[in-house]
């Protein structure tokens, strides 16, 4: 039965990228990555935070992107062009409920090697750079993909990026009583044993002060 065809997936990715590239506030490209025997195309989109909500609705409604895989927040305190970045990973899976015939479910067995065009599974990576601010925020997509719900909770909990319109935001991985404004993956919080060479010379850390001892949280 085999796997998806490399050529068809690449051309589907290019079609997808050029269709998205026409939308306002979107820069699109196709990355050719490889792991194993086949080229793995990844559609790369850079979207401005203002048009994100629009693009997200169109991705779900017009382009059949049905699966939100992961949301990553990154804190870039030293970068020139951005201070925060939110990265979304989506898949287009094309999963449908199997039909029922005479009271029996008929499983959908697609032939991956014969898929093409809009049925083709795709990988989409979306980056939304945010400028210098103490309160980074982007629009929530919780109501479009329910799978984004807990991803957004986690990103707020660990990185401190606010998702506007998210209902029921709360701490998920850290204790509920964690102080307000404490998000450990922001870069001002350092690990004590962060220096690789030091780690072996002074294993127990007696000689050293924690790198963030004089910083204000």
């Amino acid at each position: 039965m085999g796997v998806v065809s490399e050529k068809a997936q690449l051309s589907a990715a290019e079609d997808f990228a050029s269709a998205l590239g026409k939308m306002e506030g979107v820069v699109s490209s196709v990355d050719k990555r490889s792991s194993g025997t086949q080229i793995r195309p990844v559609v790369n989109l850079i979207i401005s935070p203002i048009s994100w909500r629009n693009v997200a609705e169109s991705l779900r409604a017009d382009h059949g992107v049905d699966y939100c895989s992961m949301i990553t927040g990154i804190h870039w305190p030293d970068a020139d062009d951005k201070q925060w970045e939110v990265i979304y990973h989506f898949l287009r899976t094309g999963v449908k409920n199997p039909p029922i015939l005479d009271g029996v479910v008929q499983p959908i067995i697609t032939q991956p090697s014969k898929l093409k065009g809009a049925e083709m599974p795709l990988e989409i990576q979306i980056s939304i750079p945010l400028g210098e601010t103490r309160n980074p925020e982007v629009a929530s997509i919780q109501d479009i993909w329910v799978g984004a719900d807990w991803n957004e909770k986690e990103t707020w909990d660990l990185v401190g990026i606010d998702f506007v319109g998210h209902e029921g935001m709360r701490r998920v991985l850290q204790p509920h009583e964690t102080p307000k404004g404490y998000h450990p993956l922001q870069k001002q919080h350092k690990l004590r044993y962060h220096n690789f060479e030091e780690m072996y010379d002074d294993v127990q850390g007696f000689k050293r002060k924690p790198a963030d001892s004089e910083r204000i949280k």
Binding site: I74, Q125, V146, L191
Partner: protein, 378 residues
Amino acid sequence: MAEMWISMGPQHPMTHGLWTLKVKVDGETVVDTEPDLGYIHRGVEKICESRDFTQITTYCDRLCYASANTWSHAYIYAAEDLLGVEVPERAEYIRLVAVELQRIASHLMWLGAYGPDIGNLTVMVWCLREREMMMDLLQELGGSRMHYNFPRVGGVKRDLPHGFAMRARHKLSLFLDRIQEYESLFDESTIFLIRSQGVGYAKPEEMINHGVSGPNLRAGGVNHDIRTSHPYSVYSELDWSPAVERSSIKGADCYDRYRIRVEEMIQSANLVLQALDKMPGGAETYHEPGDPKILAKAPSRAPEGTSGSHHFEDSRGESMFYIAGGGEGRGKMPYRVSIRSPIFITIPYASKCMIGYKVADIPAIMGSFDPCIGETDR
């Protein structure tokens, strides 16, 4: 009767780990649920920012104690994407063997834990006996029984040892025989059927919108699999197709989720047998550790502005790593590592699935989704 909230967990046999399921009950009926996670959050993502690319595999092994190999491989593919490494074909075959053996061991662990959940203790002992065979094989590869630390950036730690292929073929054929015994143990047990059939229905479209993937999704009668839709490794070279279950009209129930895992074990055993046959250079040749046939040279630094990601079919669904390069030590360490855990996304959905059923159905429904708290809390 008045509704009230009760806490199942953090120390409840249903949880398979350390987390709390808050259940709102009306008499015996579940009205609402709210999962509460994070009891064993270790901050792996933060720790990874101060380790170099080869050291991180050790931490990824410990994400899930039942399926260590798949997690370290999920990381290694993302790291290779970031560093731009081309892996030798033989190493890819060896990885496939390691990952699929781990998938069998993980599903056996699940089956062994699910039996006692719903009143069938015998099956636990049987499953752990078979899991032992897989662990022996994995121990030959990685050197330890639980956290193998087997893949390397650019290849694998060591080649298949002498006689491994013979022992693997022998054990897998024994396993394929014995798996029929389990099927009869479950499928002919009235208690198991009563407790697993007709509870916890889940429809594929709803599952995909909620981010549920892997065996739980395929139990609903669709054949979406990362290994065929976004192929990596050498899955494209082998003759196979993902296992799909014919669900009931209302969607996949707990029984379908049990069936799909049994089918997947047979599938994985066949994949391993095929890979051993097709391995370039033959499965019986041995290369010393570090030989270019099994380990390619890899750069140790990733410059700023680069990133790597990889979707991976884990035993429990789609796992994923995203790595941004250019961290401390002029790119020796990653700037940010982000982990997608399939069960972190599945637990909220599974909790929604049990609304409307009785309190006694909660262990049957929750257990059937195969929760693993190590990877959930990271």
